[in-house]
Symmetry: C2
Amino acid sequence: MSGTRTARSFVSAQQVAELAGVSRSAVSRTFTDGASVSETTRQKVMKAADSLGYHVNHLARSLINEDSGIVCIIGAEINTPYQARMLDALTRRLQAISRVGMVINTAGDSSSVELALRQTLNYRAGATIVLSGAPPANLIKTCVASGQKVILINRDDHLDGPKNITLDNTAAAREAFLMLQRAGCERLAVVSSLAGTPSLVARTKGFQAAAAEAGLKVTVTATGPTSYASGFEAGRVLLSGSDRPQAAFCVTDLLACGFMDAARFEFGLSVPQEICVIGFDDIEQAGWASYNLTTFKQPIDQIADHIMRLLAEPGDSASDDGTACFQAVPVWRRSVRPR
Amino acid sequence: MSGTRTARSFVSAQQVAELAGVSRSAVSRTFTDGASVSETTRQKVMKAADSLGYHVNHLARSLINEDSGIVCIIGAEINTPYQARMLDALTRRLQAISRVGMVINTAGDSSSVELALRQTLNYRAGATIVLSGAPPANLIKTCVASGQKVILINRDDHLDGPKNITLDNTAAAREAFLMLQRAGCERLAVVSSLAGTPSLVARTKGFQAAAAEAGLKVTVTATGPTSYASGFEAGRVLLSGSDRPQAAFCVTDLLACGFMDAARFEFGLSVPQEICVIGFDDIEQAGWASYNLTTFKQPIDQIADHIMRLLAEPGDSASDDGTACFQAVPVWRRSVRPR
DNA sequence: CGGTGCGTTGCAACCCCGTGCAACGTTCCG
DNA sequence: CGGAACGTTGCACGGGGTTGCAACGCACCG
């Protein structure tokens, strides 16, 4: 409204102050919660700010309080259903507490996790959430030393600075074994990938251990990345032999979907009559009629809530050792025989 | 390595300078590309910086050049396969050109799009990409006036400031009709949602128009959000009648998957023998063996590349009118009868 | 009427960094 | 050996915002 403004740059508090006929401090205080400004000047300032299109520069503001309000979220494979859902849950909540998420996609390259962590420092992020990837320990230490909150999800290396969030993978895997055992399955398989992340390994090991205790042997496959295609491939390999497994525990729903499709379309097997399948994560597709996959639900909302609680805490409260462990709950559908 | 540092705050260039025994400018120049520093001081500075854990404050840096290097990405429904893939493509590329993406989840609430756009200004983002939602025109104007690049995807309101990226939905919809016509289908349906976004509407209208020209009538359904469940529900309704459609054009793959499952599992129909289905987007699940969905592929990589090109351009080049239109290409799988 | 207390306001310093400018040291050449 | 040319370095300022401090105006009270 203020005539032609061809400057093509951001409006500063100075300009607003001049237009409103007050000092720059007054403008600042108008936009600072709890500062002392009279109602009349506040009005003047707001009017001037509106007409110029002024917005507080959070960057300059954070020069002082050393926290930009930015929360870094580091992940590879953002387009995976599970991570996408986590991202959705996190960004939605951040928006609600008027903070903001910076998403850094490390694209699987391990060295770029380091780069990502550097960005976190460059932008004075108040917190960093690592969804996947193995960040170098020394950089994490720098983050913590700088007063950042570092939150690691599903990593097993328990450093003391960062907060860890884990899932009780072992318990879930044992439960999975019991479910298959009760269904009367004896020849068992685990379908995993070559990713080798701590949680995937824990699920595999947990299942193996439970089976071993029961005196049953387990065939373990690991192919490619953690994807539908890998599950399909695993199915092709596992099911071609003469005495094929009667049940498969797939460490991820994506793998499970691929495995199921291989079983049905490559070998004409019916699920769960001829082969039982259990997945992990409870991604949306697991509930689709074509799959109806019995699986374990990660409590994403609980985890996200917990993270928000961590962010709200005062910075120096190392109340506990910083580790929170959540339970994955079984979701019964139709890919395992009942009883 | 530098003894105990209990300060718990970020390291400044000043501290590095003192430790290295040089001036603060020297430190600054060491971390600025193309600045003149001798090799010896650079070494000294780097060593000091390393031992203190120093990282340049991008925020302070951006006070000067008025661009924080942050690119805002605004979207609702991040966990949708299509948007997740777009997000992945974008963040990956941003990382490669050492910029960074700030993801703002507007969570469907229309007023929060405004909030999101405000954040964009607060953080002096160099560019804003709007994946979904209808941003208020006046705020967009402020963004553009502030020198930001605003990129709107799949919106049809063509303001002059922002760059628009669209898909030729009409052409694709016509092509979809032809594919079904050639397959010998006469009773046709369109499955859409209540979201009412421009692209969904365009697909529906385009299909209807093409059918009308050929003298065929089309039943149009629109239920709920753009999801699997809505597609399923649509199927349940459409297929229960006596003369059910022989083919359905679902304006989204998610809808298509739901529709297919309803057809198969609720009514025992086989695809494509008894009913043909075409989707849109080519999400990953469309390629899964359970669906084998014939669909239209959105050229996400091309679009992402194009956006990067827009970001690389000098700010004031309004070379063209700012609209780029991409073609969706048909992907033949097994959900439509050949010939 | 003077003093006190309170709310508001402006000044100036500071947050961290980049950069023009001038001074400095060095090398090289005439 | 003197001077020019050049690369390096430090100083000081600016960028936008916050904040302690002091000054100011005002109402209230004794």
